[in-house]
């Protein structure tokens, strides 16, 4: 369903006045009567969402500040708060290497997935050729094969090729498994963009790639952000292939490193250090995403379809 084929303002920065217009629009949306119901509902919704998302994370912070026998209790506030756990994870060289590896692998995989995925998505969304359905089905099916069944064959293959225990050895399978989702999201976003926009740009003398870069990409920005975030999410969390295809701090990623955390005794599950590591991982991630998201949203409103 086409969104609308109205006036286009590609690349023309209309940021000034944008804020005023949004405010006005919001006021219209609020409506003349009952203008306290909506904000109230929204506030309640915001509060509920915050509690829902944050409580278990608060619990992690709570546990990360406990050590020793406090971990055996379920106090909602740490009785003897201590930063020992944080201290010990940063002293752990494996963890810091793992952080570095995870960041590299995630970033590279995401960028590659977006590039390769965009090309494929563009072909699927815009161009005509036979057997499109088959290709879509094939791409989709690859991502659904249970990873456990291919872990051992992949280990053997990687060892033979020589990329076992390397970062590139992780990037390649991650890219493979991230592509289907990225391609699907990007394809559906590209499809939503009215063809007339590109055609208008082409009529104005732009080359094919210029049209793609200046018209399609900015409009598909939400799709790119989404595909990028979801790829990053998958790569960051992935454990099975990471632990199968790596064996040293050269290539360990964060999930592997956390799996190697130990308590002070053999059977002890190191809740304290695991929680501290989780907190440490989450905060920069969230910060990075906020920054990233803001810039894309800004770029998007600058070139968005208004009508």
């Amino acid at each position: 369903m086409e969104a609308s084929g109205g006036v286009v303002a590609p690349g023309a920065g209309v940021r000034e006045g944008e804020k005023e217009r949004e405010e006005a629009r919001a006021a219209v949306r609020r409506g003349p009567r009952r203008n306290w119901v909506r904000p109230l509902l929204m506030t309640i919704a915001v509060v509920l969402i915050c509690i829902f998302c944050l409580f278990p994370f608060y619990w992690l912070i709570n546990v990360s500040l406990k050590t020793g026998s406090d971990l055996s209790q379920s106090d909602i506030f740490p009785p003897n708060p201590t930063l020992d756990n944080y201290d010990s994870i940063f002293k752990n060289d494996n963890f810091t290497s793992a952080l570095k590896n995870s960041v590299i692998v995630t970033t590279v995989t995401t960028i590659l997935a977006l590039i390769v995925g965009s090309f494929a998505a563009y072909a699927l969304a815009r161009l005509r050729f036979k057997r499109k359905f088959l290709i879509l089905a094939l791409i989709l099916s690859i991502s659904t094969f249970p990873a456990i069944a291919i872990a051992a064959p992949m280990f053997k293959l990687w060892t033979d090729i020589g990329i076992y225990d390397t970062r590139i050895g992780l990037i390649i399978p991650y890219l493979t498994f991230a592509l289907p989702l990225a391609i699907y999201i990007l394809t559906s976003f590209f499809k939503e963009i009215p063809k007339e926009l590109e055609e208008a740009a082409l009529v104005d003398g732009a080359t094919y790639f210029q049209a793609f870069r200046k018209v399609v990409l900015p409009l598909a920005a939400p799709g790119l952000v989404t595909a990028g975030l979801l790829t990053a999410f998958f790569v960051w969390n992935e454990f099975l292939l990471a632990v199968t295809l790596t064996s040293s701090p050269d290539a360990f990623t964060v999930p592997v490193s956390v799996a190697n955390f130990t308590g002070s005794q053999k059977f002890e599950v190191p809740l304290g250090t695991i929680s501290a590591a989780s907190v440490v991982i989450t905060i920069p991630l969230v910060l990075a995403v906020i920054l990233f998201q803001k810039r894309i949203v800004a770029g998007m409103t600058a070139g968005a379809v208004k009508g």
């Binding site: 036979k130 053997k156 632990v243 799996a259 190697n260 130990t262 005794q265 053999k266 059977f267 002890e268």
Partner: protein, 420 residues
């Protein structure tokens, strides 16, 4: 035009399938004569693949070895904490015939499996020369089909922990224990549906003089009175309130936490919980004891622990053997006992005053290990264990009667023994 890339991909895939298909039917049947590791020479590179050690005691042993043997270089390859993951990652390398791991830290229950697949070097000669220094039961865990396939490294045997402020002394029979638990605060153990439940269950069965597998490992013996009695006893324990219902969600840590927070009078757990308990709020109010008897027989535990095995694909078997030998030196064993609370397998270590200080229950521990029995020895042990814990769990939850559970367990074990 579109056809070409896909066609190429299809051809490549087919070709690879064909190649993969060719490589598999190696031996017609029967285990090949396993190679022996007899010479110990401390030189060359050795990679030790074991689950990460807690306190860095493994690192200390490695450093000591490397220093004493400048020609040798031992490196630690850490595997995840979870025993299942350790095994999977070792198995994946062994199946791929990878020389990456020279010395493997193997759980005592993996010996038969690994040996049956020809993945380990025969160390019988070394054991026959040096085996006397070990507690005999630990050497039993290295045996399969009459040969020794690993060197005992550390051991483990369970204990009954009890609150000294709630009961005067440790009960002498399981029946008494459950009775006191019922009138007291309950008994907690590992009732989650996993390997730990097999251990807890077998402790009762062995205490009753029963078994689940015949000596020769060829026949299931779970459909017996002892097994049924143990099942009834455990299930009734939950029904009558001696053990809380929550016990079916407990692994080692949960039961430890329940005991430490004062929610239980008795606990069955491994020795590791002792040191942690001494750091908790019940520090002055608990003690440990070896297992009580059941059905009029002597108490018996189940052996845990890790052995050191040498991979059949190792490029340095001599260095590996030298390192394994070093790690079982009484001095290194004492180090691991004092620094990491890992129960030694070498008998004389228990007399070391430093060890006695770090583990005040050292004497009981040695006795417990001596009296403990191994779990069923079989290359299909994982399936046997699954048959056990699935059915015991069903009985504990009240989904099956003890008789049904015993006969289903027997049936499944028998089926496992007939696996191709």
């Amino acid at each position: 035009m579109m056809k070409t890339p896909r066609l190429v991909a299809a051809l490549v895939a087919t070709a690879m399938l064909a190649i993969a298909g060719c490589g598999d039917d190696d031996d017609g049947g029967g285990a090949p004569e396993a190679e022996k590791a007899t010479q110990a020479k401390a030189s060359g590179n050795v990679t030790w693949c074991i689950g990460k050690d807690t306190t860095g005691a493994f690192g200390t042993v490695i450093d000591a070895f490397n220093k004493a043997n400048p020609d040798a270089n031992v490196k630690l390859l850490e595997l995840p904490e979870d025993a299942g993951e350790q095994r999977r990652l070792q198995v994946q390398r062994l199946e791929a015939k990878s020389p990456e791991c020279d010395v493997l830290g193997t759980d005592v229950i993996w010996t038969a499996e690994y040996a049956a697949q020809g993945w380990l070097l025969d160390v019988s000669d070394w054991i026959s020369k040096n085996g006397d220094k070990f507690i005999p039961s630990t050497v039993d865990t290295t045996e399969y089909e009459g040969k020794n396939w690993a060197i005992p490294f550390n051991s483990n045997a369970g204990f009954i922990y009890y609150r000294t402020d709630e009961v005067d002394k440790a009960p002498e029979t399981w029946e008494d224990l459950y009775k006191e638990a019922q009138s007291g605060n309950g008994v907690v153990y590992q009732g989650f549906r996993y390997e730990g439940l097999t251990v807890n269950f077998l402790e009762l069965v062995y205490s009753a003089g029963g078994s689940v597998l015949s000596e020769d490992g060829k026949e299931a013996t779970a459909d017996s009175q002892e097994v049924k009695d143990a099942l009834t006893f455990m299930a009734d324990g939950i029904k009558d309130g001696a053990a809380p219902k929550a016990v079916t969600t407990y692994k080692e840590e949960e039961s430890r936490r329940a005991f430490e927070s004062g929610n239980a009078t008795f606990m069955r757990n491994w020795p590791y919980a002792y040191a942690l308990g001494k750091d908790s709020k019940i520090a002055d109010n608990f003690d440990i004891a070896t297992f009580p008897g059941f059905a009029g027989k002597e108490g018996a535990g189940v052996l845990g622990g890790y052995n050191l095995a040498i991979s059949a694909y190792s490029k340095n078997p001599e260095g590996s053997l030298a390192f394994a030998e070093f790690a079982t030196d009484p001095k290194q064993q004492a180090l691991m006992a004092t620094e990491a609370s890992l129960p030694p397998t070498v008998t004389e270590t228990y007399d070391d005053p430093a060890v006695k200080k770090a583990m005040p229950f050292a004497e009981e521990l040695r006795t417990a290990i001596d009296q403990a029995q191994p779990r069923p020895v079989s290359p299909v042990y994982p399936q046997i264990s699954e048959a056990i814990y699935n059915n015991v769990y069903a009985a504990l939850q009240g989904d099956m009667s003890a008789d049904e559970a015993a006969s289903k367990m027997n049936e499944e074990i028998q089926k496992a023994l007939e696996t191709f």
